[in-house]
């Protein structure tokens, strides 16, 4: 149900975004608007700029934004994301599940996630958790995603299978409880059971206060998580936006008919 103002809060508004790397333009005037409570799917051919967009929203320092704006609103606070440190964006509720999660040798998952969790607590003025309480909290979240306890002490993502890494991203999302979650091909490489678990995690997060952006190549995930909008990103621009039927059409016909 919508609140008394009958208007959804515009959580993310990207206007005419131009960005690239080392002088090569990848995003070429991209527009995207996401309201709280919505689920958006972004599809598009390989190399069209989907991961670039997600990393730019999260603040990867490697990419340069050369034009346009990324505005983000959370708790009635309006923020311009461009120029903010990645950790400051994350503390404001921006979360990116990586297409290729990074291995962090020598840093146990429990340490990594407690550092992340406590950073948010400090930011929100809430009390930090000590290792023992956090351990309990983390185990409860892991049980939710049917993850083996042994991962708690293992270094982040090191020697994890592809699917385990993806599941670990969703675990992190559940621990941090973000407002805007961007999932970059979290469904790729997952078996059917893992996919259901991931979808469950995402659906648990879904609320009128949160927004979710799913980057995917497959309609399959969208059977479990119903998108409100499907966008096609091609050559650095959103070239089409429709309802969830668009994903079915893409599955059926590919992208050629859209690019013409």
């Amino acid at each position: 149900m919508l609140g008394p103002y009958m208007e959804r809060i515009k959580m993310l508004e990207i206007k005419d975004l131009r960005a690239g790397i080392e002088g090569k333009e990848i995003l070429k005037g991209l527009n995207l608007s996401v309201n709280a409570g919505e689920v958006h799917a972004i599809m598009g051919p390989n190399g069209s700029g989907k991961s670039t967009l997600s990393k730019i929203i999260a603040g990867h320092p490697q990419y340069q934004v050369t034009g346009g704006s990324i505005d983000y609103e959370v708790n009635f606070k309006k923020l311009s994301l461009v120029g903010m440190e990645p950790d400051d964006r994350a503390k404001e509720g921006v979360f990116l599940a990586f297409q290729y999660p990074v291995e962090i040798p020598g840093v146990p998952t429990s340490v990594f996630l407690r550092a992340a969790f406590n950073a948010v607590c400090r930011h929100q003025g809430a009390e930090e958790m000590d290792p023992i309480d956090f351990d309990k909290y983390l185990r409860s979240k892991m049980a939710l995603f049917h993850m083996d306890d042994k991962y708690i002490d293992r270094p982040v993502n090191v020697d994890f299978s592809g699917g385990e890494k993806k599941r670990n991203e969703i675990l992190q999302m559940a621990v941090l409880n973000p407002r805007l979650a961007i999932l970059d091909e979290t469904d790729s490489g997952l078996d059917i059971d893992s996919m259901k678990i991931v979808a469950e995690g995402v659906n648990k997060l879904k609320s009128k206060n949160n927004a979710i952006i799913l980057i995917t190549h497959y309609q399959r995930l969208l059977n479990y998580i119903q998108p409100d909008f499907v966008h096609i990103l091609y050559d650095g621009k959103i070239i089409k936006t429709e309802g969830k039927e668009l994903a079915l059409q893409v599955e059926d016909k590919g992208y050629d008919w859209l690019i013409k």
């Binding site: 999260a58 994350a90 990586f98 999660p101 990074v102 962090i104 040798p105 020598g106 992340a116 930011h123």
Partner: protein, 438 residues
């Protein structure tokens, strides 16, 4: 006979000292010391123009006159206590001499003998001589010979066949209360019998503001089917030059895990040689150094594989700050007979200081045809991708960098499977890398 001016090293009161050494030594030891002395006098200090010493200069040592310690008592008992755990078998040597009161070696587990080197040299001459004369070092110019000539005493550790020693044997070489420019010559001999099992940590520490030179030798024999975990931890006083020669002989189907650690001396040069003398021997040869300022650490290793079906794994990691300099030279020599050898070598550096420098060189010499050997080296800074990943999880950049550096360290320390050793090294590192506040 050379005049004093012609000798490659100046030692104050040398003649008196050498006479004293001779008087304390059985015949074979006298002759052996003399052989060492003659060899050192012939070769002198290694020079940078020599390949094995290309990056490490001992010019400072060669220039100055040295003193020999005149006492072997400890004035810093309380400081020493910080290094010791009651659960371990502690063996304390002060300026080269075994110090009974501080050690707890009166009641040792069955199958374990610990005594002074001289004691062993007198009472088990054949056993001692047999090892020290048969072992060879990777570097003929190592300062082994000088130690052989001038070491005062040392420690002998013996584990009987099939004995399983549970507690850690912690040998602590302390340099204490010495004059400026003193030279000490720590020496250890370790015999591990057939099928025996033991874990040994050797710590080299110093309590003195004065600069000194510690020139150590460790010789070890690992019997058939024995399992040995051995760690050498350098934690000398900060103005120190620490040179060390470690020679290990592995028999058939023995398993050895060696870890070489350095973090405190101004200059460290380690020569580590492992001779795989028996078929199917297994070696893990890891190391870690954490250096900053103008510290210099040079590790030269040789794995000399003489028999078939041996496997070896070698990982050395270093973390460098400021203008520190690390040198790594890892040689693997596979003899014609050593078929089905499996060797892996990796040397990784995390360079945090903008003036830090690394010189790393693998050297594989393979004379057998059915051999699998790989090697590699990396020199890098903290990875931007890793920092971004942590930042994207709310962790600010400085904390991310600290966590990643800690991770780099833990990754190698975690290869030490004996907890007591790993924890002690972690404690030593706590000054340079304090606990990260999450």
């Amino acid at each position: 006979m050379m005049t004093e001016e012609q000798l490659p090293i100046k030692v104050e009161g040398l003649e008196v000292y050498q006479t004293k050494l001779r008087n304390n030594s059985p015949q074979w030891l006298k002759a052996w010391r003399q052989k060492g002395w003659d060899k050192f006098v012939e070769l002198g200090f290694p020079m940078m123009k020599e390949e094995e010493w290309k990056y490490t200069s001992l010019a400072d040592l060669a220039a100055k006159p040295f003193l020999i310690p005149t006492h072997h008592t400890l004035t810093e008992e309380s400081q020493l206590k910080a290094y010791m755990d009651q659960a371990d078998i502690n063996v304390v040597l002060v300026n080269g001499v075994l110090w009974g009161e501080l050690s707890n070696i009166k009641h040792l587990p069955e199958g374990l003998t610990i005594k002074s080197f001289l004691d062993a040299a007198v009472h088990s001459p054949t056993e001692v001589n047999d090892t020290v004369s048969k072992l060879t070092a990777n570097d003929p110019r190592s300062l082994l010979h000088l130690n052989q000539a001038l070491f005062l005493d040392g420690v002998f550790v013996k584990v009987e066949n099939n004995a399983v020693i549970e507690p850690l044997v912690h040998i602590i070489h302390v340099t204490s209360h010495i004059e400026q420019d003193t030279a000490v010559f720590p020496r250890s001999l370790i015999h591990v019998g057939r099928g025996a099992k033991v874990s040994v940590l050797e710590s080299y520490i110093g309590f003195t503001p004065n600069s000194y030179w510690s020139n150590a030798v460790v010789d070890m024999r690992v019997g058939e089917n024995a399992f040995v975990q051995y760690c050498k931890a350098e934690g000398e006083a900060s103005h120190t030059t620490h040179t060390a020669t470690t020679r290990i002989w592995q028999e058939r189907a023995s398993q050895l895990e060696v870890f070489t650690f350095a973090h405190k001396a101004k200059l460290v040069r380690n020569n580590l040689t492992i001779l795989l003398k028996g078929e199917g021997a297994n070696t893990i040869m890891n190391g870690f150094y954490a250096i900053d300022g103008t510290q210099h650490v040079d590790n030269h290793t040789l794995l000399d594989i003489q028999q078939p079906n041996c496997t070896s794994y070698q990982l050395y990691k270093g973390i460098l700050n400021d203008a520190a300099h690390a040198v790594f030279n890892g040689k693997i020599y596979v003899h014609p007979l050593a078929q089905k050898t499996n060797g892996y070598q990796l040397n990784k550096h995390l360079v945090l200081g903008k003036d830090a420098r690394v010189d790393t060189k693998p050297e594989l010499e393979i004379f057998a045809d059915d051999v699998k050997c790989t090697h590699g080296a990396t020199i890098g800074q903290l990875s931007d991708e890793e920092i971004f990943y942590l930042q994207s999880r709310c962790i600010k950049k400085e904390l991310a960098s600290q966590l990643l550096a800690k991770g780099f360290i833990n990754d190698i320390l975690n290869t030490i499977t004996f907890d007591a050793i790993r924890l002690k090294l972690g404690k030593l590192l706590a000054k340079k890398f304090p606990e990260v506040k999450l």
